[in-house]
Symmetry: C2
Subunit: 333 residues, 2 copies
Amino acid sequence: MTTTLRRGRESVTPALRLAVERMDPTSRAISSYHLGFTDLEGNPADGGGKAVRPVLATLSAQAAGAAPEVALPGAVAVELVHNFSLLHDDLMDGDTTRRHRRTVWSVWGPAAAILTGDAMLAVAQEVVLESPSPHAAQAALLLASATRELVRGQVADLAFEKRNDVGLAECLRMAADKTGALLSASAAIGAVLAGAPAPLTEALAGYGSAVGLAFQLVDDVLGIWGDPATTGKPVFSDLRSKKKSLPVTYAVEHGASVLARWLADPVPGEEHGEAELRRVAALVDSAGGRAWALAEADRQMRHAQRLLERAGLPAGPREELVALARFIVTREA
Amino acid sequence: MTTTLRRGRESVTPALRLAVERMDPTSRAISSYHLGFTDLEGNPADGGGKAVRPVLATLSAQAAGAAPEVALPGAVAVELVHNFSLLHDDLMDGDTTRRHRRTVWSVWGPAAAILTGDAMLAVAQEVVLESPSPHAAQAALLLASATRELVRGQVADLAFEKRNDVGLAECLRMAADKTGALLSASAAIGAVLAGAPAPLTEALAGYGSAVGLAFQLVDDVLGIWGDPATTGKPVFSDLRSKKKSLPVTYAVEHGASVLARWLADPVPGEEHGEAELRRVAALVDSAGGRAWALAEADRQMRHAQRLLERAGLPAGPREELVALARFIVTREA
């Protein structure tokens, strides 16, 4: 899997750099830092994310029997949309570090994060629409709709912080929007650009949604029970912020009324000692939140795999997509 | 002209409302307020801007001999992109009122302004790409490129505030990006959706750029010498903020060294009395800043008109476009 990801990242990076070249010099420099091409001083660096979405886009074209290059504009675009959302979300969430580096807004201020994100979104659309594929418009529409869903997910996520009555259904919908929508678009965009028939692109989109949901479920479990040495976050991290995560919301809906009262209590989670956080985690566990989340993640993964099998993908890309799904869901932090 | 604008606004409003319906309930409510459909309490209102860009888009389709309805998705999209930029700019500029109403960020906070703007941008692309026109992809590309230029203009505008060496050439480029790019796209998008030949869409785009520059030149003159009773702003408004406007930048480049020192002086402009601001305005005037700006605006307007004549537009749409250009440039504040 690591090989696929490394190859994928290497193949998309030159095109991603070219896309960033379209921006004004300021947005270009800030994008280059954020994407890990440069350090804070503008010197070459070798950072950046795992390029999961570009690799999905590439495998998507191959699943449709096309050359990986067909997916390239889509691969660049989904990575830009992903990073647009990171830039804006880091600002709104007040996060000062990402991937062990300072966030853009914390270095250059809010306007830089807003405008660089805006520039990424515009360039993402440009890159797809300039693709030589006769299906570029359909791919661009897929991207725009995923962007709208991504925004809807962040709107819900922020609203949940201020509410004490978040239900499991809306929590799942939020995860589908915030995590699933762009993974779904990434998994379908290569096939769309390749002109694949609707049943195939729909199967790939469904696979991406399911993988996104599985990822979020596992991520939420790690947010409570994850090993700090692996996750890089403090123990019981999501309980400290009283996050309405999926296991917590499940537990509240399944009778954990003590947990519900604790969440509604205005005392911030981080003011409680580790012993109390352990007690709260046990409440989530005994109400079935942890077991349900892991079982549901497993169910989504099997669903994703079944969608690929039913769509009759060639064995090579299918196996790579299944392996990539496993990597996404079980990745270290 | 007022009739054209009223008709234009009436024809685009239902489609604009439908586009806003695509958003999540929160972004939808905030967009409805910002676009003037509702007041702060969510009750129906009759506010909103002058819909100059949608009317341009509509006349653009008619200039290509098509029915105005052909332009509708483009008209909605340019209005959404314009309002995306207002939402983000008001936040970055810290402006608390617009069109005599409170700005979105000042009511609902920064995240609401960022996310509602993001949602508008995504929906703008969706609307164009779902248009039945076989040229939807070309129209969407026009829109994405204009968005990138708009962002570049705002990046430059913010950077100019902190610099004392802004040249006239870069100041003109900033105005072309921030004001001209979207007016240019608005003037061309209807013809693009109608499948007009490149010489016609290019003439319309050129007309829009020239009108945008003329508008900015006149707006900058009014920002210094405008009558407060008409502009609704204090007298010498742009000198109070030491704005590097076009007449000021021209004057500095043409020898007004006293003006250059005054601009570079860290004392804020609003701390100077009206007598001093009048003296500074006279410096801009005597260095030719005012006369140049008005002459250049006039030159751009004649250029715009000539482009339309040379492209051989039907007399009806051509006369309406010329009248609209005059309205945009001489409009009251």
